[in-house]
């Protein structure tokens, strides 16, 4: 601790001068409470001493005009350390912190400069997807590829395609292998839902099949030339689910409508939503509206 009593211009000295009456009063109350206890006037004396002790802390809290954290510290010292609390509170008030990191910083004027990419990296505590992919650190690159493979959404797939088209041949091959793996996963999923509908077509299995195909289309995993047949197939599954349980159409209407929009059939999309509203009534309409608003806000890119 650094004492600065000798320097009147110092803020600590000023703080002490302002707080001196409160500190003296608090100390006096503490002495009085101790005297009451020492004289042994029974239970009433203990009660009075306690009240005086609390009053000493309250005086510190209200009368020192220090900042809140300092007042809290001083009041706590007075409360927890009878009699020696007020002097310690005075010390706490007069203490300039020297554990602050700025104490070791050069006192040169601050030069404001624009952010560099390194600053941005520190700020965001991580690399962007593109940066991480072109990183020379093999582990960083693999971590990013694993992340993209795990997410497998439209952004991830775009990034993988970007990596394939880049100048780094090794990265292109790795990204292509990840994309290939995602394709295998997609095909396996589609084969499994197709089998499930072949075995016994229910509303849920048909919707699952339609969704599986639609996911590949929405994420951009499916190549454009394969989109047509897969959209047709997904539509068929949705139609089958509708024919099985028309009353459950609102459950998957938005997904179906999205598929129709990707297929550039806005009329068909609207027709699906109209049917769902008719079937489900006002409640379904509200649900659809909520889902579509969510879509509009970017959670589901239409």
């Amino acid at each position: 601790m650094t004492s600065v009593f000798s320097e009147e211009r110092d803020p600590a000295v000023r703080r002490l001068k302002i707080a001196a009456p409160a500190l003296i009063l608090s100390g006096s109350l503490e002495v009085l409470s101790v005297l009451l206890i020492i004289n042994g006037w029974g239970g009433v004396a203990y009660l009075a001493a306690s009240l005086l002790h609390i009053a000493a802390a309250a005086v510190i809290w209200m009368g020192t005009r220090a900042c809140k954290s300092q007042r809290e510290l001083m009041a706590a010292l007075v409360l927890t350390l009878p009699l020696v609390g007020p002097p310690l509170a005075a010390l706490a008030l007069a203490t300039e912190g020297r554990g602050n990191i700025d104490q070791f910083m050069p006192r040169s004027p601050v030069v404001v400069r624009s952010l560099t990419s390194a600053d941005v990296r520190r700020l965001t505590e991580g690399l962007s997807g593109c940066e991480a992919l072109i990183s020379s650190d093999l582990d960083e690159r693999r971590k990013t590829l694993a992340l993209l493979k795990h997410r497998a959404d439209s952004v991830s797939i775009s990034l993988l395609r970007w990596a394939i088209s880049g100048p780094d041949g090794d990265l292109a091959v790795e990204a292509a292998l990840v994309l290939e793996d995602l394709n295998v996963r997609f095909e396996t999923r589609v084969a499994s839902v197709r089998t499930a509908t072949d075995v016994g077509c229910t509303f849920d299995s048909a919707v699952a099949a339609g969704d599986a195909l639609a996911d590949g289309i929405h994420s951009g995993l499916v190549d454009p030339e394969l989109r047509g047949p897969l959209i047709r197939e997904a539509r068929q599954y949705y139609e089958r689910s509708q024919s099985i349980a028309l009353e459950r159409l609102p459950e998957m209407a938005v997904r179906w409508a999205r598929l129709e929009l990707v297929a550039r059939s806005p009329d068909a999309a609207l027709a699906v939503l109209d049917r769902a509203s008719l079937v489900g009534g006002g409640e379904a309409f509200a649900t659809l509206r909520g889902q579509l608003l969510g879509t509009a806000q970017g959670t589901l890119p239409l």
Partner: protein
């Protein structure tokens, strides 16, 4: 009378291909052996385990004196009976006792530790590595090896659960130890056809016998293993339930890195011990140097094919005139028929060749031009992948135009094609491109291995010939399709590319030149 073991001129060390698997390296080796009738060869085939191979695909030439086999793993055991289990326990007990007889720390373990920690390979390390003072049993059951694994776990993958590291560490080292203790095949020189296990055995034999080692790399082994490891499902990436629930990606397991570095370390061993390193292209040479090979040891010997010199093209044939009509609406001149191109994919139907991209590219191109597509090559190596390819063709509705014709003799393949297309993720210096060039066909290939050099030329004289096809990016069907459309629509360009390819193969990729280069290398090695 004591019989002395036969000593052949060259012992070829090869991982699991010749004579059991057909393909680029196998046919190359077959050519090399037949091209050196004055030398005697023995072949040491390194396989994964007994019974992994079927019938040989090649008849061994007369100058192959012996075909040996060693395996990285013991034969897959059948169901254990009680008697067999007791016998196994006895064997383990014996092995544990053997471990106790060694005096002092294991030199092999010390060398392995240095390799894992990235130390430079030197003569001392190699001497330790081949000292054969650590049996597989001692490694599996000895206290010292357990200590080694603990240290390696802390150094190489501290974030991996030890139990997981333990089993992977065993899997990495058991093949190495089995191969290091393999009985030497006496020869005047050793020729490993890759780094990895073949390179390791070659280095061990070379150190123990004092005979020279030459290593030929067609593809870059460590790179190919990295591709395998990147998608290996037998290495579990780290994730816990919470991460899964929160939707975070699993962290790639550090064990992938450990495996990758162990293969890189094996490559360094082979690079150090090899008297000569032979590679196919400048691109591969640069990679080998980056991986620790001494530039002074590297010789580039491109692959080669036989070329019929009687019908070399001398000039470009002008394109045939197309009949044209005027479009009724726009009055634009349009050709009255769509160009037709006979396209061939020649190779195994396996994921590394990315046949899927080839099929997609053909489908895209067919929107503009007519293609007659043949996929020529064996499909039995990876049946699920071959089925995926067939399914894709069916989904695209191209069953009539994209045909899987299976393997064909090479002299029948090219006469019915206009262009050869490769969409591989990885290649060395594909023989099929050279064969296509020899037949006067252009090539479209991805920018992997030596493909760019083979299409655009590698030196000024080669560049002067002009391109002999198109280079495309991997997994980019649109580029491959564009190249096919261009060739279909421009027969003159096709012929020009074909002529350039034929001149290129005559000038730089002749089989006789390749054999001559190897003859000089072998003579140097055998007589040293």
């Amino acid at each position: 009378m004591i019989s002395t073991p036969r000593v052949d001129d060259v012992c070829i060390l090869i991982e699991g291909t010749y004579p059991y698997v057909s393909g680029g390296v196998s046919s190359w080796l077959h050519d090399i052996i037949r091209g050196h009738p004055e030398l005697s060869f023995s072949i040491l085939n390194i396989g994964s385990h007994v019974g992994v191979y079927g019938k040989p695909r090649y008849v061994l030439p007369d100058n192959v004196a012996a075909l040996h086999h060693i395996y990285c793993h013991e034969a897959i055991p059948g169901v254990l009976t009680n008697a067999r289990r007791d016998a196994l326990n006895d064997e383990i007990r014996v092995l544990r006792n053997q471990r106790d007889t060694r005096v002092g720390p294991s030199r092999v373990l010390s060398a392995l530790k240095r390799l894992h920690l990235g130390d430079a390979v030197d003569a001392g390390l190699l001497a330790d590595l081949v000292s054969d003072d650590l049996s597989v049993g001692a490694f599996l059951h000895g206290r010292e090896s357990f200590q080694f694994m603990s240290e390696m776990a802390e150094q190489l993958a501290p974030e991996t659960p030890f139990l997981e590291f333990f089993w992977h560490c065993r899997s990495i080292h058991v093949p190495i130890l089995r191969l290091l203790s393999a009985p030497i095949v006496p020869a005047r020189s050793y020729h490993a056809l890759s780094t990895g296990y073949a390179g390791l055995v070659g280095a061990a034999f070379s150190v123990r016998s004092g005979r020279p080692l030459v290593v030929t790399e067609h593809g870059i082994y460590t790179r190919e293993r990295d591709i395998d490891l990147a998608n290996a499902v037998w290495i579990k990436d780290q994730s816990d339930g919470l991460e899964e629930e929160m939707g975070f990606a699993p962290t790639p397991s550090p064990l992938r890195r450990v495996w990758s570095r162990s293969f890189a370390a094996l490559a360094k061993v082979a690079y150090h011990q090899a008297a000569r390193l032979v590679t196919l292209s400048d691109a591969n040479r640069a990679r080998e140097i980056a991986d620790g090979a001494a530039a002074s040891k590297i010789t580039i010997v491109p692959n080669g094919v036989d070329v019929d010199m009687t019908d070399l093209p001398t000039d470009v044939v002008p394109p045939p005139k197309l009949q044209v009509v005027r479009d009724a609406g726009t009055q634009d001149v349009v050709p009255c028929h769509r160009p037709r191109l006979r396209v061939g994919f020649v190779g195994r139907v396996v994921p590394i060749k990315d046949v899927i991209t080839f099929i997609k590219a053909c489908n895209l191109a067919m929107a503009t031009v007519d293609l007659d597509v043949r996929i020529i090559g064996p499909a039995e190596e990876d049946p699920p992948y071959a089925q995926r390819c067939r399914n894709l063709v069916e989904t695209l509705g191209r069953v009539d135009t994209i045909k899987f014709v299976g393997p064909m003799p090479s002299h029948l393949i090219y006469r019915d094609l206009d262009v050869v297309v490769l969409t591989s993720f990885s290649e060395g210096q594909p023989l099929v491109m050279l064969e296509a060039y020899a037949a006067g066909l252009p090539a479209i290939a991805t920018d992997v291995g030596a493909c760019r050099e083979m299409i655009e030329g590698v030196n000024p004289a080669d560049h002067e010939l002009g391109p002999s096809g198109f280079v495309t990016r991997v997994a980019t069907p649109i580029e491959t399709a564009r190249a096919m459309i261009t060739l279909a629509q421009d027969p003159a360009l096709r012929r020009r590319f074909g002529a350039a390819g034929r001149h290129r193969v005559v000038g730089f990729y002749q089989r006789r030149d390749m054999i001559q280069s190897y003859r000089a290398i072998y003579q140097d090695m055998v007589s040293s």
